[in-house]
């Protein structure tokens, strides 16, 4: 794969429970786990449902849509490439699938435009042959 510009120290090792997530992200799909027992979703992927404890989980393709639950504007981060990217917005996104909250960069949202409750849509950014990051931007 060509150089994505993401330094190796920011690319996570693909843990077994997260393999499906990253495979989906590389295809441009937001794959998350749903628990048939309690009906809730969660992210990040786990062996068992963090809401009810059931190990009988299923993978679904989420809509990729959500609402901004909260955010901050990072104005100081000593680590490259963030050091050069400041200021940028990082948000907690409540996915439309109940129970799942996602932390992501909002690279296309200007600091002054971030508003709690704004509607967002996932985008996908390959970082290596095995990993793609999920960002969120305005759902326009």
């Amino acid at each position: 794969m060509s150089d994505t510009g993401v330094p190796s120290y920011l690319i996570p090792r693909v843990s077994p429970e997260a393999a499906e997530f990253f495979a989906g992200a590389l295809r441009g799909e937001l794959r998350i786990q749903r628990c048939p027992n309690c009906g809730l979703h969660h992210h990040y992927p786990r062996l068992a449902c963090p809401h009810c404890g059931s190990e009988r989980l299923e993978w679904i393709t989420a809509t990729g849509l959500g609402s901004l639950h909260s955010f901050t504007v990072i104005r100081q981060n000593g680590i490259p490439p963030f050091k050069e990217q400041v200021p940028f917005v990082v948000g907690l996104v409540d996915l439309d699938e109940p129970g799942a909250r996602f932390i992501a960069q909002l690279p296309t949202v200007a600091p002054e435009d971030a508003v709690i409750g704004m509607r967002l849509r996932a985008t996908y950014r390959p970082a290596s042959d095995e990993v793609a990051f999920v960002d969120f931007g305005p759902d326009a």
Binding site: L10, I11, S15, H43, G78, R101, A127
Partner: protein, 387 residues
């Protein structure tokens, strides 16, 4: 009947800047001063608790001090580790498993690294070496300050809390630092100074963030009988509780409620007190928001009304709830973790040894530690009388 437990000794290492002292030297200095304060030899101390950043830190410290304790606690859950230590030691002494426990912390955070404001989070190994939960946050560029900032932002959205109200916490804490000759920053500041300092992670400014200092602290916990022999004013542990909600900020169930909402009432119930009985509050002020949300969670202000409460001047000496009377982490001392310093200041207040920052006639003091990213919480109630 369980045994009553008292603090027999407290000790502070040199600070806030000690370029000639290593972390272990700061720990040993604080330990020696706390043991001397308790009129004890080190041989009398049969339990040791400490938290650090490596493995087996309490064992390293025991060896360095020449101790061979039969009771150890290395709970390491961030800045509130020491409230967890106290809870565990309190129960173990009550039960008779151990008689005398020293809780020790020290670090040359400032001299070793300088001020980074919690804004460099990757560490040596990066995401591949990060704990799995944190590996989802790190690639977003979120910082430690940013995690707290997202929680503060949500509180503002839900309750109308303002940056001015958060800033007033820094202002009142700095007033107390002005009375502490060992505080890192002592010159008075205004709300405008805080709002005029640069934003680190919106809505938190530089002066909403704790300092980075060197320092060390130790306390010696023992039975009521042994504490009486020390000849120091008696300070009882009346109640303690600890808990957690999450590791990474994405998993915090409610950004406006911490585990303090459980640990506070639980400790108060054991202590037989209500928030109105508290004469002074020592609160882990990693950031102004940490103070605000925990004031609500412990019941000093109703949920959502922490902003008006702090803006009223309640945290001042002479206010409704004199808080962080030593100048806190915001202005005085924060050598990486601060949970132990809270308990030291609580004890000094109840002994009447808090100098220019003394709360007259203080009988009940509460220390509340926060660790991680509002992750782990511990509440301890001290009193001049047993519960």
């Amino acid at each position: 009947m369980t045994r009553r437990v008292c603090v027999a000794g407290v000790g502070l290492a040199d600070g806030p800047k000690t370029p000639d002292l290593s972390a272990l030297m700061l720990q040993a200095q604080a330990f020696g001063r706390a043991a001397a304060d308790a009129n004890m030899t080190k041989q009398e101390i049969d339990g040791l608790a400490s938290a650090g950043y490596g493995g087996m830190h309490e064992v390293q410290l025991a060896e360095y001090l020449g101790l061979t304790p039969h009771w150890l606690d290395s709970t390491s859950c961030g800045g509130s580790s020491f409230e967890f230590h106290l809870l565990h030691a309190y129960r173990a002494i009550q039960a008779g498993d151990v008689d005398t426990v020293a809780i020790v912390y020290g670090n040359n955070e400032f001299s070793a690294a300088g001020r980074s404001l919690g804004t460099g989070r990757a560490g040596g190994g990066g995401a591949a070496a990060m704990p799995y939960p944190m590996s989802w946050e790190l690639p977003t560029g979120l910082t430690l300050v940013g995690a707290y900032a997202m929680a503060a932002q949500r509180h503002m959205h839900q309750y109308g809390t303002t940056s001015e109200q958060l800033a007033s916490i820094s202002v009142q804490t700095r007033e107390h630092a002005g009375r502490n000759p060992n505080a890192m920053y002592r010159d008075p500041i205004t709300v405008d100074d805080v709002l005029g300092s640069r934003l680190v992670a919106d809505p938190l400014h530089k002066l909403d963030c704790c300092v980075v200092s060197d320092g060390g602290c130790a306390i010696v916990l023992t039975t009521e009988e042994r504490a009486k022999e020390s000849g120091r004013p008696l300070v009882y542990v009346r109640g303690a509780a600890a808990g957690m909600t999450h590791h990474s900020i994405q998993a915090m169930p409610d950004l406006t409620v911490t585990a303090g909402a459980v640990t506070g009432p639980k400790a108060f119930t054991e202590a037989g007190i209500s928030p109105a009985d508290v004469d002074t509050f020592q609160m882990y002020d990693s950031f102004t928001y940490t103070v605000l949300v925990c004031l609500e969670d412990l019941g000093f202000a109703p949920k959502g009304e922490g902003g008006p409460f702090v803006a009223s001047g309640a945290l001042r000496l002479g206010g409704a709830l004199p808080t962080n009377t030593d100048g806190g982490g915001l202005s005085a001392t924060h050598p990486g973790m601060r949970g132990l310093f809270l308990m030291c200041e609580a004890v000094r207040q109840l002994r009447g040894e808090a100098g220019d920052s003394q709360v007259d006639g203080a009988e009940i003091a509460v220390a509340h530690g926060s660790g991680g990213w509002l992750s782990t919480m511990g509440t301890v109630v001290f009193g001049t009388e047993p519960a």
